[in-house]
């Protein structure tokens, strides 16, 4: 059986990719940021921790999707994804290999669980997805893990609610648990933490709120389900809303978690960097509330 063994969250600031690609990742400015990932790089390389597949929750930044189509939740079911040309030419990092068998299983399971996913077979992936891989794996010739991209609209309002994201995470856990192959699966939530890239209020950072958010990912509290969009906007800047994506990760880790590693740093470009590694303590999630989800015949078919 496949199982979710850990959750990882990280900011995905594009400048981190630039720093890595240009070999500046240990200079005075970026050194303290990357140092906070050293623990994770060592941890994730150990055979007992090494994931076979990462479900990578991120948002596209006007790269694969323009304004013509805006999926709220989209899952990548393709074989592979190339790094996107974001206007400066594509990052020279390896292509991202997918896991279509597990991805299609999750897509089917989520739809029967009443999450009406958009399915993507072909797309390029931007810094939202490749920067977290860089932070966790540095510069390998090939990424040592298969990746299922899960893209969330956090650009055009309204994005999904925190509660909906958490519930999607729970449904993802049910889907992974019902996949027959023995796989070590991690789920990563990316983006954030506090930042505002627009208007006269640009540059807003709220370390106190960010650390409250990190605290509440740990243990059995579900308070973060109920943080409204307006609170992210007021407290963490207009782009802090990306943190709802971390709640998909948290929801998938089940009832309670413990923190293995935590890192917070200001600034990187306009943004507060946050990173946390969580392990499920009690990974149980509620049963599917839906008819199809409870129907053995329907579940057996996927």
């Amino acid at each position: 059986m496949a199982r979710i063994t850990a959750g990882v969250a990280s900011s995905h600031v594009p400048l981190l990719g630039v720093a890595s690609d240009q070999g500046k990742d240990r200079d005075d400015y970026f050194g303290p940021i990357f140092a906070g990932y050293d623990w994770t790089r060592e941890w994730i390389a150990k055979p007992e921790n090494k994931p076979d597949v990462v479900i990578l929750v991120y948002n596209d930044h006007a790269s694969a999707f323009d304004m013509s189509i805006i999926p709220t939740f989209a899952i990548g079911c393709g074989e592979r994804y190339a790094p996107a040309d974001e206007g400066w030419g594509p990052r020279k990092v390896p292509d991202v290999e997918g896991h279509p068998d597990l991805a299609w299983h999750i897509a089917q399971s989520l739809i029967l669980d009443e999450f009406d996913m958009t399915i993507i077979n072909e797309m390029d992936v931007d810094h939202g997805l490749t920067v977290p891989l860089t932070m966790m794996y540095d510069k390998p010739d090939a990424w040592p893990v298969k990746v299922i991209p899960l893209a969330v609209n956090v650009v055009t309002y309204p994005p999904p609610s925190g509660n909906r994201c958490w519930a999607l995470g729970e449904a993802i856990a049910r889907a992974v648990n019902s996949f027959g192959e023995d796989l070590n699966v991690q789920i990563w939530g990316t983006g954030g933490m506090s930042h505002q890239l627009q208007g006269q209020r640009a540059g807003l950072i709220n370390a106190e709120w960010d650390n409250m958010f990190l605290d509440k990912l740990i243990g059995d509290t579900q308070d973060l389900r109920h943080v409204p969009h307006i609170e992210y906007l007021r407290e963490t800047g207009s782009e802090g809303i990306e943190m709802v994506m971390w709640l998909i990760m948290r929801g998938a880790l089940g009832k309670s978690t413990k923190c293995l590693h935590r890192h917070y740093h200001v600034p990187c470009s306009n943004t507060a960097i946050g990173h946390i590694v969580l392990e499920p303590v009690d990974g149980s999630v509620p049963p599917s509330p839906t008819l199809e989800g409870n129907n053995e015949a329907a579940q057996a078919a996927i």
Partner: protein, 136 residues
């Protein structure tokens, strides 16, 4: 929607944040062609044509004259008012060779140096920046 009784109240709150234009459906509609124009600069051949003759290139897009002039003037706060989204407008300033910090600082009324110094010192505090009405 947590904390709101209906969509009107949900949207009304967004107008109460100082120095911020939330990218709502209304802005997305208003700025559709502006953002699609910016998106077109992802392609090298379009960037070349844009750089060779900005006015001729932008006139090909069904945007308002106001939007065109704001792009030509690189007036990013104005562009936000006219429905621009920062991730799309980023294609314009990256074509100009500007980083996010350089472009974003132009919206704050601060010099790039002062803005960078503020970020290194911990960023802009949310104190007094949360609400126009509540002034908190």
């Amino acid at each position: 929607m947590a904390g709101h009784s209906d969509i009107h109240e949900y949207l009304a709150d967004f107008e109460d944040i100082p120095g911020t234009r939330v990218y709502t459906a209304a802005r997305a509609r208003k700025g559709y062609h502006l953002n699609q124009f910016a998106m077109s600069l992802m392609k090298p051949e379009n960037r070349q044509r844009w750089l060779a003759d900005e006015r001729a290139y932008i006139n090909e897009w069904p945007m308002t004259q106001e939007q065109r002039e704001a792009v030509l003037a690189r007036d990013y706060n104005r562009l936000l008012d006219l429905g621009g989204n920062i991730y799309f407008l980023a294609k314009v300033f990256s074509t100009d060779g500007l980083s996010f910090v350089q472009a974003v600082s132009t919206m704050t009324g601060m010099s790039v140096e002062d803005y960078q110094a503020m970020m290194v010192a911990g960023g802009r505090s949310p104190e007094g920046q949360r609400s126009i009405k509540g002034d908190s």
